[in-house]
């Protein structure tokens, strides 16, 4: 299946799902002629139309046009690596309220560098730790953004 066809199918599915949600928006006595669901429904219809054209076009030209881009060798591999990268982000969100900003950012820096380079050297640990301090100075001290302090705040 080529990518245009896949994107067309995805677009059509999104349009259908969005249409269902849009159609379930309740009516209101304060509504105008167009109403809160007016434009969303129009967007869904337009997206569906465009998706169908894309699907039609990709089916029609599939045999004629050579594939412009070949999948990278070992196409399983990249997707797996991407999931790992996302997991690091998810772990950050889950841990930062408890471990606090500085520690979690250090962990994030360390994890990503390790994940992408495959090694943990003393330099990497050092860079992650000092990087976290720089981030803390920049965001919390200088800009005054109240990043979660974590359970450390309760110890003092």
């Amino acid at each position: 299946m080529n990518r245009d066809l896949a994107f067309g199918l995805l677009g059509a599915a999104l349009a259908a799902g969005y249409y269902r949600l849009a159609a379930s928006i309740p009516q209101s006595a304060l509504a105008d002629g167009v109403g809160p669901r007016g434009l969303p429904i129009a967007y869904a219809v337009v997206l569906l139309g465009l998706s169908l054209i894309l699907i039609g076009r990709s089916v029609r030209t599939r045999n004629r046009e050579p594939r412009t881009r070949n999948a990278e060798p070992g196409s399983q591999h990249p997707a797996v690596r991407v999931v790992g990268m996302l997991a690091i982000g998810a772990a950050y969100i889950a841990l930062v309220p408890w471990l606090g900003y500085v520690v979690t950012v250090a962990g994030l820096l360390l994890a990503v560098t390790w994940y992408l380079s495959g090694v943990v050297t003393r330099t990497i640990v050092l860079v992650a730790a000092s990087g976290a301090v720089v981030f803390w100075l920049l965001f919390v001290r200088l800009l005054g953004i109240p990043h979660p302090p974590g359970f450390w705040a309760r110890l003092f």
């Binding site: 006595a29 109240p146 979660p148």
Partner: protein
């Protein structure tokens, strides 16, 4: 030293926000006033202007914390989950009632304890100075014969409610449009897209002083001291008055002495000549309400708003 303590408090407050329930070491020394408005927004400016006078009149250290997001939902949650020690209060406006009713926040206005009220923001009806409408009656007459066009600042707000109720009370059916904030609507009054707008006096002050706007009526119980010639809407035969409040609320279970301290302090603050000049210049009406009265007021305001939103189908 002050900077240090302030940072510590900010940290503690954010610890409370995430539900850790950290204990403050000096509960009464530093009082945090939480607002859902961003720095520079209405409530924020109000609090920051009040604090130096509050400190001078009743003592203590006060800081402002902006907890934005969710149209006040987050600020409400932070205050509702804080320990009732008198160290954290929320600056109330009708927004927190609207947000509670319109969405399903983790803490509602009913989860907070109203402490005292300080002010009312007078709501006024106005039109462009060079428009053909001299009085509210003219605008209503136009709405009866032609196509009336009225504006309110936000879609689900006290201002919208004023316009919808005015429409019902006068028995006319103008088009009512809403905008994102008062400035946007003001332009459409100035360029005659709208016959009439409604908003806080403070928002339109610059244009009013420049003589580009005309006041048509006060949507409150009394005339404004700054504009003794402008009649109330009630005087013009329409039974409509709203009170846009500004006060303080805290977590449930506040000790009686904390509430009593505020009840004693606020009248003193409002009588202070320097602060009186400031709030009069900012077109705020002093509207002190002690705790018991404020609780009843808030309950009634909430019930009235809920009835309006249900009647108009905005909520089920």
């Amino acid at each position: 030293m002050r900077v240090c303590r302030r940072t510590v408090v900010l940290w503690l407050v954010s610890a409370l926000t995430v539900g850790c329930g950290a204990a403050t070491t000096e509960p009464r020394r530093v009082v945090t006033l939480v607002t859902h408005s961003s720095p520079g927004g209405g409530s924020d400016v109000f609090l920051r202007e009040m604090i130096p006078h509050l400190t001078r009149v009743i003592g203590g250290t006060f800081i402002v914390q902006n907890i934005q997001g969710g149209s006040g939902a987050k600020a409400m949650a932070a205050v509702a989950h804080a320990r009732p020690e008198g160290a954290l209060f929320y600056a109330t406006t009708p927004t927190f009632i609207y947000t509670s009713l319109l969405s399903d926040p983790s803490a509602r206005y009913t989860d907070l304890e109203p402490v005292v009220n300080l002010f009312f923001d007078p709501e006024v009806l106005y039109t462009a100075a060079d428009s053909t409408f001299a009085t509210l009656a003219d605008v209503l007459a136009h709405a009866r014969t032609g196509r009336g066009r009225w504006g309110a600042a936000n879609p689900a707000s006290l201002e919208r409610q004023v316009m919808e109720r005015l429409k019902q009370a006068a028995g006319v059916s103008p088009a009512i449009t809403t905008f994102e904030g008062g400035g946007d609507m003001l332009i459409n009054v100035l360029n005659h897209t709208l016959d009439m707008g409604v908003g806080e006096l403070q928002e339109i002050r610059a244009q009013l002083d420049a003589g580009r706007l005309r006041l048509l009526g006060v949507v409150g119980d009394d005339r404004l001291p700054q504009f003794p010639d402008v009649p109330t809407v009630k005087e013009q035969g329409i039974d409509l008055a709203v009170r846009k409040f500004r006060g303080l609320a805290g977590p449930k279970g506040l000790p009686a002495d904390v509430i009593a301290a505020w009840e004693a302090a606020i009248p003193k603050l409002l009588d202070d000549p320097a602060y009186r000049k400031l709030y009069t210049d900012n077109s705020l009406q002093p509207g002190f309400m002690p705790h018991a009265e404020y609780v009843t007021f808030m309950r009634e305001f909430g019930a009235e708003t809920e009835a309006f939103l249900k009647q108009s189908g905005v909520i089920q």
